[in-house]
């Protein structure tokens, strides 16, 4: 019973094995990929391990406080070198091993030529509750 975040990157992750961008796939390849992602989420819902997921737009802005009475300062667009998150999924699983297994499955989503993308996903544990019994 531990929650993990699976992070998918637009950039910043090590290169995938089947590293062809989606805009160079066929219509059927795109359809197959999207179906795989939907099936994966549906499967996790059925196993009782799904918590949530969202996709993020690639554009964004840096924002910071600029002092009393002043509007916040914004800066953008992001530099090309910035690590850029494309989306996240949260799962609730019994073990770290199970989280790794599921991340591996998600990374096998089909891409160009229907072959697995082997995309690198970032797997991050959530902090849990502090246990009551520690002594």
């Amino acid at each position: 019973m531990a929650k993990y975040l699976l992070l998918k990157h637009y950039r910043g992750a090590p290169a995938a094995v089947n590293d062809v961008p989606m805009d160079q796939w066929s219509q059927d390849e795109i359809t197959a990929h999207l179906q795989y992602m939907r099936d994966f989420a549906a499967k996790l819902q059925a196993t009782g391990e799904y918590v949530g997921e969202q996709a993020l737009a690639p554009e964004g802005t840096w924002v910071r406080y600029d002092g009393e009475g002043k509007p916040p300062v914004t800066d953008g667009p992001f530099a090309e070198t910035k690590d850029l998150i494309a989306g996240w999924m949260v799962i609730d699983v019994d073990s770290y091993e199970r989280a790794v297994e599921l991340a591996g499955e998600l990374s096998a989503a089909p891409g160009k030529d229907g072959k697995p993308i082997h995309e690198w996903l970032e797997l991050r544990p959530f902090y849990g509750n502090a246990p009551t019994i520690t002594e």
Binding site: A46, T47, G48, D92, A130, P131, T132, I133, E135
Partner: protein
Amino acid sequence: MDEALLRSLTPGVIGILVRRGADFAAAEDAVQDALLEAVRVWPADPPRDPKGWLVTVAWRKFIDATRAESARRRREDLVDAEPEPGPASDVDDTLQLYFLCAHPSLTPSSAVALTLRAVGGLTTRQIAQAYLVPEATMAQRISRAKKTVSGVRFDQPGDVATVLRVLYLVFNEGYSGDVDLAAEAIRLTRQLAAAIDHPEVAGLLALMLLHHARRASRTADDGSLVALADQDRSRWDTAMIAEGVEILQAALAQDRLGEFQAQAAIAALHCDAPEAAETDWVQIVEWYDELAALTDSPVVRLNRAVAVGEADGPRAGLKALGELDDSLPRYTAVAAYLHERDGDEQTAARLYAEAAKKAANLAEREYLTRQAARLNRKSPPHP
């Protein structure tokens, strides 16, 4: 309306339906529906016999659900497939439900969810909120768990140890959302202790009470952790401690020691000290030795090193620690503490900061970071 009373009737009512020929999964669904109806109807029209009312309504719901399904599966077949309902007491039914919901074929999270619903009578929504997952996810988890145990005979003897592990998990998860899981775990363990005379069940109940009694002092108003030595002991619930100690003593008198009794004995010794300085660390070390012999758990030996540090001085504690694997969770935190006690504040500060990065929860990380910051103010690190 007394919701705790209502929920305490859950296992007995499920048991009756199963004995009348309903399968467990359908019986559990029907009783859950009946509980929801009770919450709706009872405030305005309380029944004279709450349990009888639940049985009648749950049975009607079961029949309705079965009729709806009858094209696929005739009721006669269903009844034939079940063993003859023999004479059984409520206590037996309750016990069988605990065994079934903690069946070894279930994963820990499924066993926890199923126990809270079928034995605890909590709704899927309440369980989902407590574990911070969507209701649909929790519903699936429970439905799969029911499918997993569907082939298990209801009257088959189970293993108390697996039930205790599930209840321990529920208790240790603590407090989040509307449902106080610690209090619920205590209620369920109390109910189990009433159904079976077993020293480890009593040991776990005592352990829970002896920790729950100190809950108010474990966290400051801002939610931050307060170390045992710094807790305001006047806030401990002395009546609950007395109850825990009494239950523990009766269990120990049976002379069948187990890990929960040993853990409870350690908790009892902490509860027994009016001031932190008066803690009987020598006896605590002895109990850790017992516990290590029973479980061979590295976490136990880590906690033992802390106790040795108090009983025989920080050098002895560091020596005991040195015999353990430094990749253990909380190893670095323990090392930091012992080095501080030994007067080496710079090493302690460095280790506290390192331990903070490895903490498994936010409260612990903040606690360890504060310790590092406190020591760094006193003796700033060398540039």
